[in-house]
């Protein structure tokens, strides 16, 4: 395990999990699994003194450093407390840490391998939050990796575990397995055909949570939805993984595929027009917010998946999603930017990447 990270370098690359490959990657952005764990001999974070938090951070760091596992060698351990706000935000944008831990105070840290797509947050809501992300719908491999990290840490850290309630967590909604499996889906066709409500309703009877992102009024519509297990206690890990990965996600993917087919059949021209307009705006705008960027990138992503744009790779779009975010822009620019500067910088960044090559238009 290394004790430093090069954030300028980090901003320049996308993680493996964003490469836009993997099963069902035309619809599924990523699979993420996290495990919540706590040390046996400390109070939970809420009742920790500053000394407790420091002591947890030091204990965990020392134990992690004692690991000789070859997969752990590339891990970088970063103390979040002395880190600049922009570097913390960079880690948030890469989903290596949560916004909560970025904005909290006191001793806290993260061990991560950006390329491998795993991170272990220290002193988040629980003492340890182990998470692994993979591109596409890949619950099996994601679980194998997170489970392996958990087993490895368990050898050097004594967890708070109760024979009846399982892994004990600060919030009772995570107790038991401490497991949350989340699949991030891109569902523009279901949104365009106004079928999301139906999907929501059909999911409500199952133990899953669906959450979506909407823009203001009718101006922007978010097309990204996350599906995850709602319960953590009283089921095996295998059952929870199967619920999301084998049952719910494939069903939603199937709905989205059908909606896309119907759109191509009935509204191909309208769709092509919309995708082309999105491309036009991102290629020519001089100022743009991240919200508007996301909206248009979503349409372009759909256009690529449906063969309406053929000289642009979905990988590039994923990269633009990541690097057009505020901290990434500023990191790539090498300085702090105000809001207006950011909007201008974002626009020229997008323009450069979308029009840098010839013949983007189909």
């Amino acid at each position: 395990m290394k004790r430093e990270a090069d954030f300028d370098e980090l901003a320049r690359y996308t993680g493996e999990w964003m490469r836009g490959e993997g099963p069902e990657s035309d619809i599924v952005i990523s699979t993420r699994i996290r495990l919540a764990r706590n040390l046996a001999d400390f109070p939970f974070i809420r009742r920790c003194s500053d000394e407790d938090r420091l002591s947890i951070e030091r204990t965990v760091r020392a134990r992690m450093e004692s690991l000789t596992d070859q997969h752990w060698e590339a891990a970088q351990y970063v103390d979040l407390e002395p880190l600049s706000e922009i570097d913390r935000q960079l880690l948030v944008e890469r989903q290596l840490i949560s916004r909560e831990i970025a904005e909290s105070n006191g001793s806290r840290a993260v061990a991560f391998d950006a390329a491998e797509g795993y991170s272990v947050m220290v002193n988040e809501e629980d003492h340890l939050r182990i998470q692994v992300m993979k591109s596409g719908l890949d619950v099996k491999n994601t679980w194998e990796q997170v489970n392996r990290i958990d087993n490895m840490l368990e050898e050097v850290i004594l967890y708070a575990f109760h024979p009846r309630y399982g892994y004990l967590t600060a919030c009772p909604t995570n107790v038991g397995t401490g497991l949350r499996v989340s699949v991030m889906l891109h569902l523009p066709a279901l949104v365009i055909t106004e079928q999301m409500d139906r999907v929501f309703r059909s999911m409500q009877r199952i133990n899953v949570t669906v959450r979506g992102l909407y823009g203001e009024g009718s101006q922007y519509t978010g097309d990204f939805y996350q599906v995850s297990n709602q319960v953590t206690l009283g089921h095996t890990e295998a059952d929870l993984l199967a619920l999301v990965g084998d049952e719910v996600a494939p069903k939603i993917i199937e709905y989205e595929r059908k909606a896309r087919e119907a759109l191509l059949k009935n509204n191909r021209d309208d769709l092509h027009d919309e995708v082309s307009r999105a491309m036009g705006i991102l290629s020519t705008a001089r100022k743009i917010s991240s919200e508007e960027t996301m909206h248009h990138l979503s349409k372009i992503r759909l256009g690529i998946s449906m063969g309406l744009i053929d000289q642009l790779d979905v990988k590039v779009i994923n990269q633009l999603f990541l690097q057009s975010q505020s901290a990434h822009l500023q990191k790539l620019q090498g300085r702090i930017l105000g809001t207006a500067e950011r909007h201008a910088r974002r626009a020229s960044f997008l323009q450069h990447h979308l029009t840098g090559k010839e013949g983007l238009w189909n």
């Binding site: 939970f44 009742r47 948030v92 919030c171 107790v175 949570t209 959450r211 206690l233 009283g234 991240s290």
Partner: protein, 175 residues
């Protein structure tokens, strides 16, 4: 419309589907929406709030009494837990066991873990509680610069963490 968490305008409207509360719309600014989305999907506060509300509506005269109940290890009151949705230490699952049970049923519909188990364990809930107490004692010893006592406790803790090592002298019995 303003963001639910700050003064900035709410430009994102996130629909949260939770059982049993049903869909809930959250109005957030760009910053908070991002944090919200990147956070994992379970909204513990909504789940806990609705479960507790259910418990309350079932008429509990003893609520005031329950609110004052405190964990002997970490000192958290049930009132503080109700307000924050976060417990104070692993022993709370034992100390507030009967009080948490309806909530666990509400949230998970189950009360028994059947998944993965660690290969090592601290043993009983009581030994977990004792370890937290000992660590506190160790910090106090360090504070009053009684390093000898502090290192004694540290060794005891280490022995408790390592199931293979022989049990250390029980500080509860000797003190």
């Amino acid at each position: 419309m303003k963001c639910q968490f700050c003064e900035k305008p709410a430009t994102f409207h996130i629909t949260e589907l939770t059982e049993p509360a049903g869909p809930q719309v959250m109005h957030l600014c760009e910053e908070h929406a991002k944090g919200f989305l990147h956070k994992e999907a379970s909204p513990p506060m909504t789940a806990i709030a609705s479960a507790l509300a259910k418990q309350l509506s079932q008429g509990s005269d003893d609520l005031e009494e329950l609110d004052q109940k405190e964990c002997p290890v970490c000192g958290i009151s049930f009132f503080e837990f109700r307000n924050s949705g976060r417990l104070g230490c692993p022993y709370d699952y034992t100390h507030f066991e009967a009080d948490l049970r309806p909530l666990l049923i509400n949230v998970h519909d189950k009360t028994e873990h059947i998944g993965k188990k660690p290969t090592r364990s601290a043993g009983t809930a009581d030994s977990l509680a004792r370890m937290i107490g000992m660590r506190r004692e160790m910090e106090e010893a360090i504070e009053r610069e009684d390093y000898e006592r502090a290192s004694e406790i540290r060794d005891e803790l280490k022995a408790m963490e390592d199931p293979i090592a022989p049990p250390a002298n029980d500080s509860d019995e000797t003190s």
